[in-house]
Amino acid sequence: MTVSFAPSSRIEPAVAAPVAAPEPMRRRSRRKAARTVGFHTASILISLAWFAPILLVVVTSFRTFDDVSTNGIASLPHSFSIDTYVQAWNQGGMFQATVNSLIVTIPTVILTLLLASAVAFGLSRFRIPFRRTILLIMLAGNLLPVQMLLIPVTRITQQIGIYDTLGALIVVQTAFGLGFYTFVLYGFMRTVPGELQEAATLDGAGPLRIFVQVILPLTRPALAALGALSFTWIFNDLLWSITLLQTSSRLPITAAVLSLQGQYVSSWSVIAAATVIAAIPSTIVFLLFQRSFVGGLSLGAMK
């Protein structure tokens, strides 16, 4: 599992190496070797330090309650058990919570991508009046601190009767995410040459056809990147879930794990198992879309 960054292969300027290396050259190569060893030593240490907390939790999740409580989390495991997972999955309601999270996440990602690409298409391919203003307003919406919206949105969802439903989360997350998606997709669609659109128009294609059959396929890399990224964002969200939901059987996975922490306060292995379960879906998406995911992180930021 490695990640390479898109425009990776920057070829080092080849230094013509003489057949018989003279003395200074050999000294230089020795220094280079030492530097390589240093680089890898430092990198391995950093990577291990980064990976260690994950390993700790994964290992803890497979230990029994008695083992952790007598020997401490920081000890080497003396036991192996998957009861912790059974317990988290059944009694902790992790199954229901995972389903809830997916019910919110998948439609939200699809809806936001669809709506944002529609605006981005209109703004980037046509002379819409106030084009720039619309774009900036949408971007500004994304930069607003979410705290400003919590109370009014709660009130609105109560008034229209969708408070405490997963639908409310879908609507709110979609509206809130639109600005950023639009901004990124707009930047991307602008680079599609106008000739393609002209050709399609001459062939008698209307705007909708151009959108679906010409522009969307060409925007696929950006759509994949945004989709993968926002899957993890929405799946991992806590704030909106605990604001808009009350019924415990409707809680998404983040909120469920958190309430599990209060419930199983002494059983670290069950909490660890729930933590691992909560991390699995985004990890799978990350593994499937590695390249897009990493590229997506800098989308919109680097232009």
């Binding site: 209109g122 000739e195 890399p221």
Partner: protein
């Protein structure tokens, strides 16, 4: 952006047909109704005294006056500043550092990068639980300290008001540094290697190359990273809520957590709205500079 190899030619075709207006306006209205209308309401709520049940009373600027003398608000504001400086500052420096270390494609570098940004994939709730295990009384940190004969230093890291905030920051950093690294690597890839090679030929040392070429060339990336970090700092909520709920004794309280507990636990909705407005005002500088930048880029092209 490196995402496409298509040429930049972009001629727009004629006046848009009605269907295009629909495509633009529907999402725009959704965002206006879902984001801007509530945001405006949020501002007006901050001038009310309201518990969500009884009729709201007008409070004028009383909520803001009360904020000024509220010690918890003071703590939350101070902690938010500490958060921006420490979390933001260390993420920036460490992110830049690892980006420089891992910028060139060489054997193994993909694995190292993955290790560093794998945490981005996890939720902040997951992050907080992972690190809570680390900071437990019998957790890794205390065990290690005892192992090194530093038993006097052990403590209940998350339960001690002197250390809780910093313990939470460590967890937040673990997740953020990889993200900042990705931004910087993307920026470093954008630097023309010819400049660097020329400097190398001229005999510039590594530090000189960094100081006079790399860093200045990263100027626009730096701005993006700093803006992202400030906005992320002001938004930070999940990790604090999951690790400490702002405690003990408000020692990890941020503006965002204080706003949340004021709104949904104390049910002082007007007062909480005033805190939200303060967060907004703090974010405003970043928002404006972002928009100015986006606007100027729009004009350029």
């Amino acid at each position: 952006m490196t995402t496409t190899a298509l040429p930049r030619g972009r001629r727009r075709v004629g006046f848009p047909p009605p269907v295009v207006f629909v495509l633009v306006l529907v999402p725009f209205l959704i965002e206006a109704v879902g984001v801007f209308w509530p945001a405006i309401q949020g501002i007006s709520l901050s001038f009310l005294r309201w518990n969500g049940i009884a009729p709201a009373e007008s409070a004028g600027v009383q909520n803001y006056i009360d904020l000024a003398s509220d010690p918890v608000f003071g703590t939350a504001l101070r902690n938010t500043v500490i958060w921006i400086v420490l979390f933001g500052g260390i993420s920036f420096l460490a992110g830049l550092g690892v980006a420089l270390l891992f910028q060139s494609e060489r054997r193994g570098v993909g694995i190292y990068r993955t290790a560093l940004f794998l945490p981005i994939v996890f939720s902040l709730v997951v992050t907080s639980l992972i690190w809570s295990a680390f900071f437990q009384p019998s957790g890794v940190l205390n065990t290690a300290l005892e192992g090194f004969g530093l038993g006097d230093l052990t403590r209940v890291w998350l339960g001690d008001s002197d250390t809780a905030l910093y313990a939470v920051i460590v967890a937040a950093l673990w997740r953020e540094i990889g993200y900042v690294m990705v931004l910087f690597i993307a920026g470093l890839k954008g630097i023309d290697p010819a400049i660097m090679e020329a400097a190398r030929v001229d005999g510039a040392t590594a530090w000189q190359r960094f100081r006079h070429i790399t860093f200045p060339q990263l100027r626009s990336v730096n701005l993006v990273v700093l803006s992202v970090l400030v906005i992320d700092s002001l938004r930070s909520f999940d990790i604090v809520w999951a690790m400490t709920r702002g405690g003990p004794y408000h020692s990890t309280e941020l503006l965002s957590t204080y706003m949340f507990s004021t709104a949904f636990e104390s049910r002082s909705l007007g007062y909480a709205s005033a805190i939200a407005v303060v967060i907004f005002v703090l974010a405003l500088a970043v928002i404006i500079s972002y928009l100015v930048r986006a606007l100027s880029e729009e004009k350029e092209s």
